[in-house]
Amino acid sequence: MLYRRTLLLLLLSTLFFSTFAQNNATISGQVKDGTETIIGATVTIKGTKNGVITDISGRYEIKGITPGTYTVIVSYIGYLKSSQSVTLSAGQQKTLNFSLSKDPQQLDNVSIDGKTKNQEVKESGFAVNAIETKKFANTTADLNQILNRSTGVRIREQGGLGSDFKFSINGLSGKQVKFFIDGIPIEVMGSAMSLNNIPVNLAERLEVYKGVVPVTLGADAMGGAVNVITNQKVSNYLDLSHSYGSFSTNRSALTGQFVDQKTGLIFKGSGFFNSSANNYKMKDVEILQGGVRDGDQIVDLNGAEFVSTDIRRFHDNYMSASGQAEIGVVNKKWADVLFIGGGYNESTQDLQTGFEQKIVYGKVRKTSSSANGTIRYKKNDIFTEGLNLSAFASRTKDESKTTDTLLRQYYWDGTWTVKSSPEMGSLKQINNIARPRTYAMANMSYLINNEHSLNLNYTFDHLKNKNYNQYFASRDSMPGLMKKQIVGLAYQQNLLDQRLSNTVFAKYYRLGLERPKLISGSYSLLDTTFSNWGYGVASRYKVTQNFGLKASYEHAYRLQEAEEMFGDGLNLQPNPDLKPERSDNINIGAYYSFRLDRHSFFIEASGFYRNAKDFIYPVPDLRSQLLKNENKSDVLITGFESELRYAYSELLSLNLNLTYQNAVNKTKTGSTESMVPEYTYNNKIPNQPFLFGNADFGIGKDNLLGKDTRLQFNWFTQYINWFYLTWENAGNPNGKSDIPTQFIHNASLSYSMEKGKYNLSLECRNLTDNLSYDNFKLQKPSRSFSVKFRYFIQ
């Protein structure tokens, strides 16, 4: 795994002199962070009222200065102040460039107005959430919990730590959303790696692309994509943390890098360990009273009655562990970056319930393990100036197993009765899935000049899918094979002095699927190939330096997977007629940022449109109890979202966002042939939050309890408006099931010492102990407390 940090370069200031014959002197120059310009930095001359703010290219100019000796000070939020002394003679025009370095102390700071990497991403034509994870580094959050606070994103978890989740971006979800780590699909690392277990400390930034996805993430991500960006810096660092909390939850994370000065070799390592009993209290669930018992078994149900009670979960243990190491070199003549790496991860998960709270499991368990080997290479200005190449390849061994072999019906208190079928389904299973995978990608960008650039991306994904029930077979006699190739070409232009940026792109998807199939006694290879063209455009126009308009469009596909088409040989039946899902996605938006004194504001609002067709859903067959994937429904989603970020110096920060989405069913006919449009045609899609928002408030002060310390308090509230579990207009409202409006409050207090070297934080989630639900009516964790210690050196 490539857990890296951005470059925190401490560059020396440079001075340039030039002299002209004028009376009053002038100072001008540029303010940068390494190679990146800083917009909005304050440049003042000490002891005078002279001061300006750097422009779009980071430049400033102060005219009319009386000759003399001055100190010029440059400051910018999130950076260390920089000052230079200068002596000006009459008429002198002096160039004074500044290079600021980030202030490591301001870990909880929200960078708002500067051209941070985040800002750069936000100011691209794409509809994107760019999230700095630094400010969450002292919390116990995993990436899902951070993403869940951002605009347009809803993550619906089934329960506690490690539980299955459904990630939705602007109403599209499931396999329509793809996840990446540093541009590489997260599945390449193995199935035990997931956004619900990667600790916050392993990431530096998160990018959420909504509906329109850049070609550099070579994927059939029709609903959007999440890219986790890890630490990329080239110096030594170590970030070590451990937290302990309610429900016996332990979470450890480690990421570090060591540069051997003698050989120039760089060693990178990262890892995490999570475990939890998830034994939070379930409210008002039913257990059995009475009956004849033998230990936990109820041997005779005669006289046994359901009664309601509050009780702790008993079968929801979760453990996941991951380790990843890399070794390589940077800045060689033949490679800017070359790393080889390897990793291993595994997880064990007990399942406590089915899709419904009444269905209690007591022994069902899922385990998975995977190992991977990776190589990555990057070279800028290869062959010719402006031509950059990066490439990545990996091989993954990924295995998982689901065990459900006991003929038992469990109840919430852990007691059970003999059932005539296993807990989950009709057949006993030790279901093995093995998915060896080879993945490779290459990206080539060419900067023609400052105004025009090209980007060509190619990904190759080869996945074998072996699936068998160990209870009945020892191997999969008909493994499925998927070969996915995606070529993306983008052309970007930056016109009108960088104010207008347009990206036009096309994607070619090629999918080959194979599975040998037993046809009248002999195997023959079912081979299917699809190809599709997708395309899109993303534009941004800066009306003023701080005010920009954005629009983007993509005609996108989500390709069918081998299992969806050929079945899993167990419960999922093949459907050779399955087509890819597709969607036309449009985003329009505007952002505006401004500063008043020490108040910084960032406002963003956007509207979105998704016209999605041929959704792939597994449809159950009543007779055989088997599932079969079908292109079942069409959905039209429109909505808008807005975000306000405010900060007062380094003291206060407030982040508010609200999303409204209206997903309307466009499936005209239901399961039956009919000339009358289905009742649900044009109705709002049920069981989906349509209005939700987040408020994140932080207050923190440096040096309050001693030098180089920071005390920080954060309050976070999540709001989800009530929604129906079923079609809103159907049925008598009196008996309709719904999910009530939810307000969930969380708070944390953290204390950092020695400029963030030692950090201690206390956190409380679901402070008011409200009932919270995400998926159907499965109760989520009750109030929990945790404490986290983090050690960070660089």
Partner: protein, 400 residues
């Protein structure tokens, strides 16, 4: 600073307005229609957002039924149309959560009267002994099992049935029709497989059987056999496949495709009153008489006549259906009723018989009506219409 407050206020106002408008979106209040004489189990939506409702039908002969703001939602209680209704109470076994429940509709909501733990069997069929006693049958852990339910207090007694042993190549019992008559229960059965690796080319056990069970001690007296057909009546929790007529003669029909047998025809058999043997003088090859149709369900309408829900031939049971009129007593096919083609679900309780008339719900491609068939005049007339685009009409029920 003024500018600051302006911006903030404006933004917060927008957020508040949105929150208020949406948050205050009122839930409609429904009209109640308790005390209707009939009901329908309806399904709307495409997977995975299918939803089931029990809607009252005030009259079978006129008016409209819509689920717009109407109908008791079944979600979270009853999962499909396999419900048994008697005297306005609905009974449903949920194998996933291991519960057997009794429910009724009140003020537009489906109310749970009682749920009991029930893990003994996965139900297929049932027969009422009297108003208080329901016997249900099904497969459980590859055994044929039964449960006797006293519906008043929802108490239960369970046991196993000593049916013929499952032969090699098969591993489950397929339970067919169940019919109580004179302290005997007649139970159709066959053998099946749950190895779906070659689905839908499943092994077929070329034998249809009927167990004769003594109700007093639930012992199997004998098994009657016939090899002309297979699958002796589908799961009757969806629709009936047998009846006892005015002469106390028992009739039942087979549906081979239900157990993946595309070849064998549907046969109707008779067990005469007082007998526990298949009537050797009677075997009605329904498929031969109906142009090779198969018979997933059958309702007795009186005077020896019955209505059959008839499916076009083939292995698929998701095919077009029609309704035919047969003279069961004489073993003759009378005619196909002149109704629109039924595009509905495979298993539908589509007929209510009242005052010698049959009321037939048809899931047509055009408009969905309950049709009245009067055997005395041989007339078909349109009755109540289901409007608004119902996906499936799964059951119609007479409540009292």
């Amino acid at each position: 600073m003024n500018k600051l407050f302006q911006h903030t206020t404006r933004f917060l106002t927008i957020i508040l307005t949105i929150a208020l408008i949406s948050g205050c979106e009122k839930r409609n209040s429904g009209q109640f229609e308790d005390g209707t004489k009939y009901s329908a189990v309806l399904c709307v939506g495409s997977w995975p957002n299918t939803a089931y409702y029990i809607a009252g039908i005030p009259s079978l002969t006129e008016g409209v039924v819509s689920i717009k703001g109407n109908g008791a939602e079944m979600t979270g209680k009853v999962y499909a149309q396999d419900v048994i209704q008697r005297n306005g109470f609905y009974y449903h076994a949920n194998f996933g959560s291991g519960r057997l429940g009794k429910y009724h509709v009140e003020n537009g909501a489906l109310i749970t009267d009682k749920e009991i733990p029930f893990t003994w069997l996965n139900w297929s069929s049932y027969t009422w002994i009297d108003d208080e006693t329901l016997v249900i049958f099904g497969d459980g852990n590859n055994e044929a099992r039964y449960a006797i339910l006293k519906v008043d207090k929802m108490t239960i007694k369970t046991g196993k049935l000593d049916l013929n042993t499952i032969p090699t190549g098969f591993n489950t019992y397929n339970i067919g029709f169940a019919q109580y008559r004179d302290n005997k229960i007649f139970l159709g059965y066959g053998f099946g497989s749950n190895d779906f690796s070659n689905y839908p080319n499943m092994p077929v056990s070329k034998k249809a059987m009927v167990a004769v069970i003594d109700y007093t001690n639930m012992t199997v007296e004998k098994s009657l056999e016939d090899s002309r057909t297979t699958s002796m009546g589908g799961p009757t929790v969806y629709a009936p496949t047998s009846f006892v007529d005015e002469n106390n003669d028992l009739y039942f029909v087979s549906d081979p495709p239900n157990m993946y047998d595309a070849q064998s025809p549907s046969y109707i058999y008779r067990i005469k009153s007082g007998s526990t043997e298949l009537d050797p003088t009677y075997a009605f090859n329904y498929s031969a008489a109906s142009g090779n149709d198969k018979a997933p369900a059958m309702w007795y309408i009186g005077n020896g006549k019955a209505i059959v829900r008839s499916r076009v031939s083939g292995l698929s049971i998701d095919a077009d259906h029609s309704f035919t009129l047969i003279d069961a007593r004489n073993g003759t096919f009378i005619k196909k009723l002149n109704l629109p083609v039924d595009k509905g679900e495979r298993m539908v309780n589509a007929v209510i018989v009242e005052d010698g008339k049959a009321f037939i719900s048809v899931n047509a491609a055009d408009r969905d009506y309950v049709w009245q068939y009067d055997p005395t005049t041989d007339q078909l007339t349109k009755g109540v219409e289901f409007i608004g685009g119902i996906d499936y009409i799964l059951r119609i029920e007479k409540l009292r």
